[in-house]
Amino acid sequence: MSETVLRIPTLETERLRLRAPLASDFEAYADFRTGPRATFLGGPYTRAEAFDQLSALIGHWLLRGYGRWMVADRQSDRPLGVVGLYYPEDWLEPEIAWSVFDEAEGRGIAFEAACATRRHAYETLGWSTVVSLIDARNARSAALAERLGATREGVFHHPSLGAMDVWRHPAPGEAA
C-alpha cells in the first residue's frame, strides 16, 4: 500500500486563481456558510458543519478526481468563493457549482470562475455535457446560469436538500 497523495490543479483567469482550499480559508468560508446567503445551499450551517464542508471540498478531489476550487483574487490570494465541479453521492449528475462570498458579489467573479470550470470540464476532462443545480428561489444564480447559456430542463429532488432546478449547459462545441 502506498502513501495517499492529494493533487488539486490550479487554474488562472484574468482576475482569479482557482486553487486548492486551505486551512487559512476557513474564516471566510465559515462566514459565508453560517450567513443568510447560504440559505439556498441548504444552510445556514454551523461553524462545525462549515469545517466539515471545507474538509469535504478537498476530499471530493480524491474521491472523484475533480472538485471545487477556492476562488481567490489573483493578486492578493484573498478567498472570494467556491466554484468548480461537484458530484457527491446521491446527486443527479456532475454539476458546475458556484457560490461567492459577500465581498465578491456583483463583480462577475462567479461568471469568470464558472467559465474556467466549464472549459476545464470540456477541454481537460473531456466531458460532453454538464448541468448546474440551482434552488428555484435563487434568482441571482438562475440569472448567471442563463448568462452562461444554460437552459432549464427540469427539477431534481434531493433527499436532504429538497428541490433544485436543473440547468443544462451548452455542449462543448456550443459553449462560448
Binding site: M1, E3, T4, V5, L6, A23, A56, I58, L62
Partner: protein, 201 residues
C-alpha cells in the same frame, strides 16, 4: 498546489493507509448502520459520502487525520483510527471506529496504539484525548486499555461526551503500561503467546 501525503503505518497484523475511493463501501455500510450511533449516525448516502470526503480533507486542513485499518495480508478493511479535530473539538483527539462484523479482535487497540505512537514520536504531540459518548461502553473500555483516564475537568465537545485523557509520551516509554498494551496486542495476534516473566496484574 494543495497536496499532503498521508503516511502509511504498519503493525504486526495491520496496515494503516489514507482513505481511498475503493474503501468507501465499507465505510458507508457502517455509517448506514446502528453501529455509527455514537459517531453522529446513522447517515443517509449523501451525508455519508460527505463525511468520508471530510475525513480525507481533514488531513489537508489539520495535517493529520484518520487512517483506514487494513489486514496486512488480505487488504480487507476493519475500520478507521487516527487523529481527529474538527472545528468544535477543544483538543486533538485519538479516535477509532471498527466495522461491526470484525469487532472483538483487538484491531482498534492495535491501530490506535500505533497511531498514538506516530503522533507522539514523529509528530511531537505532547498528549491527546478521546471524546466518547458515555453510553459507548466498548470505546470507554478501549480508552482504559490504552491507559487513558477520565478527565472530568477537561472541556467536552458539546456536553454530551466524556473526555478520556491519554497518557503523556513519557508514560509510554519503557513503562509497565506500555508493556501491558504490547502484550495484549501480541495476545490478539497469537492467542498462544507467552510473555516473558510473570504478569503482575
Amino acid at each position: 498546489m494543495g497536496h499532503r501525503d498521508i503516511p502509511v503505518l504498519e503493525t504486526q497484523r495491520l496496515i494503516l493507509a489514507g482513505p481511498e475511493p475503493g474503501d468507501y463501501p465499507d465505510f458507508k455500510a457502517t455509517f448506514a448502520s446502528y453501529r455509527s450511533r455514537f459517531m453522529g449516525g446513522p447517515l443517509n448516502a449523501y451525508e455519508t459520502w460527505m463525511l468520508y470526503a471530510a475525513e480525507i480533507g481533514h488531513w489537508e486542513i489539520r495535517g493529520f487525520g484518520m487512517w483506514v485499518i487494513h489486514d496486512r495480508r488480505t487488504g480487507q478493511t476493519y475500520g478507521m483510527a487516527g487523529g481527529w479535530q474538527p472545528a468544535m473539538w477543544p483538543e486533538p483527539e485519538i479516535a477509532w471506529i471498527i466495522w461491526p462484523d470484525v469487532a472483538g479482535n483487538g484491531y482498534a487497540l492495535e491501530a490506535t496504539d500505533r497511531a498514538r505512537r506516530y503522533f507522539y514520536e514523529e509528530r511531537g504531540w505532547d498528549g491527546a484525548v478521546s471524546y466518547i459518548d458515555p453510553h459507548n461502553l466498548p470505546s470507554i473500555r478501549l480508552a482504559e486499555r490504552l491507559g487513558a483516564k477520565r478527565d472530568a475537568q477537561a472541556r467536552t465537545v458539546d456536553g454530551n461526551d466524556v473526555v478520556y485523557r491519554h497518557p503523556a509520551p513519557a508514560q509510554l516509554r519503557n513503562t509497565q503500561l506500555a508493556d501491558g498494551i504490547a502484550m495484549e496486542i501480541a495476545n490478539y495476534a497469537d492467542p498462544q503467546f507467552t510473555p516473558k516473566g510473570w504478569a503482575l496484574d
